[in-house]
Amino acid sequence: METLISLKPLLAVAVSTLGALLIAITGEKARNLREAWSIFTSLAKFSIVASMLPDILNGKVIEYTLIKITPELIIKFKVDGLGIFFALTASFLWIITSFYSIGYMRGLNEHAQTRYFFYFAIALSATVGVAFSANMFTAFVFYEIITVSTFPLVAHKETEEAKKGARKYLTYLLGTSIAFQLTAIVITYSITGNLNFSSHGVFNKDISYELITIIFFLYIAGITKAAIMPLHSWLPAAMVAPTPVSALLHAVAVVKAGVFMVIRVVLYIFGSELLKTYNLGLVLALVASFTIIAASVIALRQDDLKLRLAYSTVSQLSYIVVGVALLTPSSITGSIMHIVTHAFGKITLFFTAGAIYVVTHKTKVSELDGIGRQMPFTMASFTLAALSMIGVPPLAGFISKWYLIFGALEAKQLFVLGVLAVSTILNACYFMPIVYAAFMKKQKYHISFGDNKREIREAPIFVLFPLILTAIATVLMFFYPFFFLEIIKIIVFGVKGGN
């Protein structure tokens, strides 16, 4: 594999840190300029990431060593297929979220907006940092930066409830990463002397079963951002954050950084061979399967729309984990594909939740009767995204689910098929009533503005446009998945050889 040395990965990470500084300097005095920085950096970030794509598609790898802190602890970037896949998703959605954030924050006249945009940019920096990490240490550094930089976002409202949620958020994410992940990294290093992600793992084959099991589960428990049960409850708690935060960070950047790390650990630290030998992948698949079902059941009972979405996220994240845990080419394809399909779907759903809140200040599912008539575009987008989540063709969600099913057959793990089937039904159960109520039921509460109930009152354009865009994307992705599959092919080829 050819390796290019280039500054681009560093630029891709640093550009939004720079943007954050500009945002902080500009401050509240020149709001438009500040927002312009936000959008400008997000565009710049995406274009830098995208500019690396051709090389990656040609089978090359881009590397850049930032700093050798000690001979073994090196901050180094390496852009490979998996990294660029995640970075593209996150940085593209950041552009859309930037617009949405502006509309949302201004629409609600939120306080401390500078702080909000500042930390948002930092969090994105760190997310791309995780995506481009060449070794476990670098990944860990950025993982922690994500946690710390999103803390102010979760606590944004500064109410007791927000602080409580943020506290829980931090306890789970920081606590487990120090307690388990760091320990696992140290043990890995003390055994192998190597923390680099490599496509066949870093461990020797002769490592004892007990040790490998302990390390494996230390990692899994340490990457709480993937929200695998029983360490998932930070995610619902984080829903106190403003909706754009929930949308981009808790449906895309943060949680996907979690599953991304799981994929990295499973495929690039342990390697599929080793895990298969010890059947550890299967154990992980079981845990994740349980999460899928349990989270869906809990989601059914949530009346708060954002909480329902949060539990749905918990469940959907485990799809990704199951896929990678099955360790077959198709299941890995499905799993990685699900990163992007779920990202688009879920961000749309959160955007709609935010739009509803901006217009009506409603947060409960039970209050949404008849809202479809009032906000037809919003709710249509919601419907599309929900269908994609369920996995109905012709929507993006179908593609990843298809590959996952295929992978389960390949791995001859039929229970996964059952789990996927049950989960699909459950998905339908918790999404469809909302759609039904929105369009079919009569409005229970008269909304204070306007005398005419039928009046269409959509969210501001900055809020509405992004969510329509992402909803359309879920459709387009069904018809044109080849671009993504192309990248995934490179990834799978890297870790499995053949196929």
């Binding site: 550094v141 922690e144 710390v148 102010p152 500064e158 120090i178």
Partner: protein, 493 residues
């Protein structure tokens, strides 16, 4: 005469003489004391840099005091470890000296200021003497100079500090006497007091019970001085009630110097195999330190007074360093030595911030931190950096020493110690994020009586320098290890 040749003696003698001269200056003109005081410490910093550069270029300095050849005369030996400690002590003393100007004015009457400066200089003398001397009895004398100055400095704090200082005297004297007893036993069997000489004489005497008794006395004596749990009782009160500048300086240096003495005794005076193979001392100390880490962390959670919280965290941190050196492997040792540097800066920075908050708010209570993020933004940014480093979030300095410590404990398969280190990080995370939340996300409930503003420049600058150093050290950890700490690792690891 080339003065630089004598820098290793000058660095001790300068503050010693200056402390007396300072009194005379105060008789002439009191306002000259402070510039003189800071100037002397600046000079010490320059000398320490000179010593460091000599050591790194031409190796160990051996300076014969008064021309007497060792082992009869006292010899000053400065190798990489000494130079490392010397530079930490002199530069931190210099920075805190700058900081002390405003903070001490608020806590002391004007007439007593010159005495404060003199005592501070004596304290520096003692600490530098401990690190520079190559003679174990001379070390005792310097240890007592430092301690005596420390007692006095603590006693000038707020009302309750006097009793704390008295308890410290009692405990500290017991510690020093134990150390002296140990020295006596070593002298009985070897007839020598010179460290280099002893390291040659002792190996043939490892089986002797007297050697063991000597080591036991010395270790317990030093353990009191560094407040290793359960011998820590004097520390929280002393550092809580002492003047802020004193808490910052003493907490940053006193325990580190004690750790240095332990390293000297374990690995220069004795050999690592004495700890691991001949006696179970290594294991005992690992357990001892592990308990200290757990204890310090657990007690720290329950405190409401910020300086007291820091004191208990310091007790846990002392456990870190003792653990690192008693693991008897390369990683642990590197971790411990690196942590000497990191912890000195972090804890000094935090105590300085505590002093700064006390300066403005007049309280050390954690509840009174609410909303400070708005009124003291720079100080609080420094606080955030220091807190992250305490927790061990990369890329702050604290992460790297912790990394090596955990790595060392893993290599030695001391899982309980690994758990202790991790646990203490979690506790620090809990404590500091709770505070950060108060600082940034809480509004003040009562309208403040005092004017909440940013601190005066002479306090802000030292604090900011410290915080920046924490960040810079993080990135240069590898450089520090490869150019300095690597040479301090004892043979046989």
């Amino acid at each position: 005469m080339n003065l630089w040749e004598h820098s290793s003696i000058l660095i001790v003698v300068t503050p010693l003489i200056a402390s007396i001269v300072n009194i005379f200056i105060s008789l002439l003109k009191r306002s000259l004391c402070y510039p003189f005081f800071v100037g002397i410490l600046g000079l010490c910093s320059l000398l320490s840099i000179d010593i460091l550069s000599v050591v790194t270029t031409s190796g160990t300095i051996r300076y014969k005091l008064g021309g007497w050849t060792p082992p009869w005369g006292i010899e000053y030996t400065v190798d990489h470890l000494n130079a490392f400690l010397i530079i930490i002590i002199s530069i931190i003393s210099f920075i805190i000296a700058i900081y002390s100007k405003e903070s001490i004015k608020k806590e002391l009457t004007k007439a007593r200021l010159p005495y404060f400066y003199s005592t501070y200089l004596l304290f520096v003398t003692g600490l530098l003497g401990i690190t520079i001397t190559g003679d174990i009895f001379n070390l005792y004398v310097f240890l007592e100079i430092a301690s005596l100055a420390g007692y006095a400095l603590i006693a000038i704090g707020e009302r309750r500090s006097v009793l704390a200082s008295f308890n410290y005297i009692i405990m500290g004297t017991v510690g020093a006497c134990f150390y002296l007893l140990g020295v006596g036993y070593i002298y009985i069997i070897t007839g020598s007091l010179n460290i280099t000489d002893l390291s040659r004489l002792l190996p043939s005497l490892y089986e002797s019970k007297v050697t063991l008794a000597a080591l036991a006395f010395v270790v317990v004596g030093i353990a009191i001085k560094i407040a290793l749990f359960p011998l820590h009782r004097w520390l929280p009160d002393s550092y809580t009630f002492a003047p802020s500048a004193v808490s910052a300086f003493a907490s940053a240096t006193m325990s580190k110097v004690g750790i240095y003495v332990l390293i000297r005794i374990f690995f220069t005076l004795f050999e690592p195999r004495f700890l691991t193979d001949i006696t179970p001392l290594s294991n005992i100390l690992i357990w001892w330190a592990t308990v200290a880490i757990f204890f310090g962390s657990i007690i720290a959670i329950g405190q409401t007074d910020f300086k007291r919280t820091l004191s208990y965290i310091l007790i846990a941190e002392v456990g870190y360093m003792v653990l690192g050196i008693s693991l008897c492997n390369k990683e642990g040792f590197i971790g411990a030595v690196l942590h000497i540097l990191n912890d000195a800066i972090m804890i000094a920075c935090l105590f300085m911030i505590a002093g700064g908050i006390f300066y403005r708010v007049g309280s050390r209570n954690l509840e009174d931190f609410k909303g400070l993020g708005k009124s003291m933004p720079i100080t609080m940014a420094a606080f955030t950096v220091a807190a992250l480093s305490m927790i061990g979030i990369p890329p702050t300095g604290g992460f790297f020493s912790k990394w090596y410590l955990i790595l060392g404990a893993t290599k030695a398969e001391q899982w309980i110690s690994v758990a202790a280190l991790v646990f203490s990080s979690l506790v620090n995370a809990f404590i500091f994020f709770k505070l950060l939340e108060k600082i940034y996300f809480s509004k003040k409930e009562v309208i403040p009586k005092h004017n909440f503003r940013e601190l005066p420049l002479s306090m802000i600058i030292p604090i900011t320098i410290m915080a920046l150093t924490i960040l810079i050290i993080g990135f240069y950890s590898g450089r520090i290890i490869s150019s300095l700490i690597r040479f301090t690792v004892p043979e046989g690891f």
